[in-house]
């Protein structure tokens, strides 16, 4: 079982040292191997088990009160002008949506 831990780390914006890579790769491979046994089960023609809800039973579009700005920013380490302040160069210029 091969897993590209470096790639996974990059996707998660985590930097790993070479030592950490060496340490984590076999650990993550073991996890994947133990989950791999699930693939042996034949799930052909079996629908995924999920709860169902009818459109009409969904939440009505009625707004209610939000948190206060103070509460929203409580966990933010840095803040400025009512916004959460994040350091570091953000890759790319545009937003994803």
């Amino acid at each position: 079982m091969k897993i590209d831990v470096k790639h996974i780390a990059q996707l998660s914006r985590i930097s790993l040292t070479d030592d950490e890579l060496k340490k984590f790769t076999p650990q993550m491979e073991t996890i994947l191997e133990s989950v791999e046994v699930l693939k042996e089960i034949d799930t052909k023609n079996i629908e995924p088990m999920k709860g169902h809800v009818k459109l009409q039973d969904l939440r009505e579009d009625t707004p209610s009160e939000s948190l206060s700005q103070e509460e929203v920013l409580k966990n933010a380490k840095y803040k400025e002008n009512g916004c959460v302040k994040v350091f570091g160069k953000i890759f790319g210029e545009s937003q994803e949506s």
Binding site: S12, R13, K50, L67, E80, N81, G82, I90
Partner: protein, 501 residues
């Protein structure tokens, strides 16, 4: 070599639209965040706090289905949500709830004025991200980002076309039609400046005859290798959609002619310089590690639901255009302009209805269209408004048109009255009555002309002696007496006739 002789232009569009709901997609936070204090429309759900659970908004899903119905899509009977993972400060959960393999709406189309049916691959439901602004600390030079989560979780639909568009103009027209549909059905205000609608074109150019379009895909023929595409972001207006595509097509053709290989990339539109700017290469495929959203059950959509939602459909611009042209013989251009907003189409149809009580149905439509596209459009343009919004009373307008058609006054006079009714609020009916009594007291045009000839012997003599210019003087005299109720050409002709005697 001319660009269009060598290459075909291939465009696909992704359009994001914020839908008009009162509360967010997966929580009850209000959506009216525009120009509000940052981070005041936020709760644990849209802030992505641990343990918070998404609760889908019924109205948002109805609006997504409505957009699908308006664009002839098939609607899924079961709705699934998926998690799209990426890490960015504007996405607090670390994933966006979106739809991956099974969108709510699929395989629709919208026809654009060129006759092309732009194929829609899918319309899916997702949530908007937070707003981030980028800054640099002046003291340290450190770069930082400020994040306002008010926009996080606002319902967003994404409309994705197949690469079925072949010109910048058709792309612009498609975006225009989508915006019109969204506004007609009150799905969204779709204001691009406010970020309620965003367009991202995918553009490539391919050598003519070297590719084919099959099953919604561009397939290379023989050993031809397809040129990579560029995606353009940050487009802030519908006109910029067209300009950005034109710019990209030229840039790519120039690079190929210079022998430079193209690379797949994301570029940003710079509206002040009218150019696209390089942002990043897309060397590897996006790796969003989609997974089924386990916190939201499958939502069942019955045919009854779809039937109920379709009751919100109204006659859409393309249907109106077809009807105006086939039933009433309106020109295509006028039909496009008049149907561009629901308000203006309603104004036109109401005017047509009032006029048709006096004149034939077709004639009524043609008169209404001519008067709207001519005088009214000019007045509205000067005011920088839509013609349906300058406060013209349709009853008055119709009365004016009928009076003009009855030969009561000149077109100039009619436009003058129209202008004054808008600017000074004069009563159109009274004005018409006044002119009518002037006309009645003057008798027929011939009588007025005879009187003028009798009273201006010098000018008549001059004319008869070959000084043709003096007829202008006589026309002026007649016009003065009739106060604009007669047509200068008629006056001139009648004068010439009478002077021959």
């Amino acid at each position: 070599m001319e660009l269009n002789e060598k290459y075909d232009v291939i465009v696909g569009l992704e359009i994001h639209i914020q839908t008009n709901t009162k509360s967010k997609m997966f929580c009850s936070c209000p959506t009216d965040y525009f120009q509000k204090e940052p981070n005041t429309h936020v709760c644990p759900v849209c802030l992505g706090l641990p343990g918070a659970l998404p609760v889908p908004n019924k109205r948002a899903i109805e609006l997504c289905i409505l957009m699908g119905l308006a664009t002839k899509c098939s609607i899924a009977n079961e709705i699934f949500f998926d998690r799209k993972h990426y890490f960015y400060p504007d996405l607090p959960k670390g994933y966006q709830i979106s739809q991956y393999k099974k969108p709510i709406c699929s395989n629709g189309f919208v026809e654009v004025p060129s006759g092309l049916k732009v194929e829609i691959e899918r319309i899916h439901q997702e949530e908007d991200v937070a707003k981030s602004t980028h800054h640099t600390e002046s003291s340290t030079g450190k770069e930082y980002t400020l994040v306002d989560y008010n926009k996080s979780g606002v319902p967003l639909i994404e409309i994705v076309t197949k690469p079925s568009i072949r010109s910048a103009k058709d792309a612009k027209d498609f975006a225009t039609k989508i915006r019109q549909i969204a506004r007609y059905l009150n799905i969204s205000n779709a204001d691009m400046e406010k970020g309620q609608m965003r367009c991202e074109p995918n553009i490539s150019i391919q050598e003519k005859g070297k590719w084919e379009y099959k099953d919604g895909k561009i397939i290379p023929l023989g050993d031809y290798k397809l040129n990579p595409k560029a995606e353009v972001k940050n487009i802030g207006s519908i006109t910029a959609v067209e300009k950005a595509i034109e710019y990209e097509v030229k840039r790519m053709a120039d690079e190929l002619e210079e022998g430079k290989p193209l690379k797949q990339q994301t570029r940003g539109w710079n509206a002040s310089k009218n150019i696209t700017e390089f942002q990043r290469y897309k060397e590897t495929a996006d790796d969003y590690r989609y997974m089924p959203e386990p916190d939201i059950p499958v939502i069942e959509i019955s045919n009854e639901d779809i039937k109920n939602i379709s009751k919100e459909l109204v006659e859409l611009p393309n249907e109106k255009i077809k009807r105006y042209i086939s039933d009433w013989g309106i020109t295509e251009y006028s039909a496009e302009v008049i149907s561009s907003t629901k308000k203006s189409a309603d104004f036109f149809e109401n005017l047509q209805l009032i006029l048709s009580k006096k004149i034939g149905e077709k004639e009524a439509a043609k008169e209404a269209s001519n008067w709207i596209m001519g005088p009214l459009y000019a007045i509205a343009n000067k005011k920088g408004k839509d013609f349906s919004e300058i406060g013209v009373n349709s009853e008055d307008f119709a009365e004016l048109i009928i009076a003009f058609k009855d030969g009561m006054f000149t077109k100039n006079k009619a436009e003058e009255i129209l202008n004054e009714s808008i600017d000074k609020g004069i009563n159109v009916s009274e004005e018409i009555q006044k002119l009518k009594s002037v006309k009645d007291s003057n008798g027929s045009l011939t009588e007025v002309v005879k009187r003028v000839i009798e009273e201006n012997i010098q000018a008549v003599t001059d004319y008869k002696n070959g000084k043709e210019a003096s007829i202008g003087f006589l026309v002026g005299k007649v016009m003065q007496i009739t106060k604009g109720t007669s047509n200068p050409n008629d006056v001139r002709n009648t004068l010439v006739e009478e002077l021959k005697k």
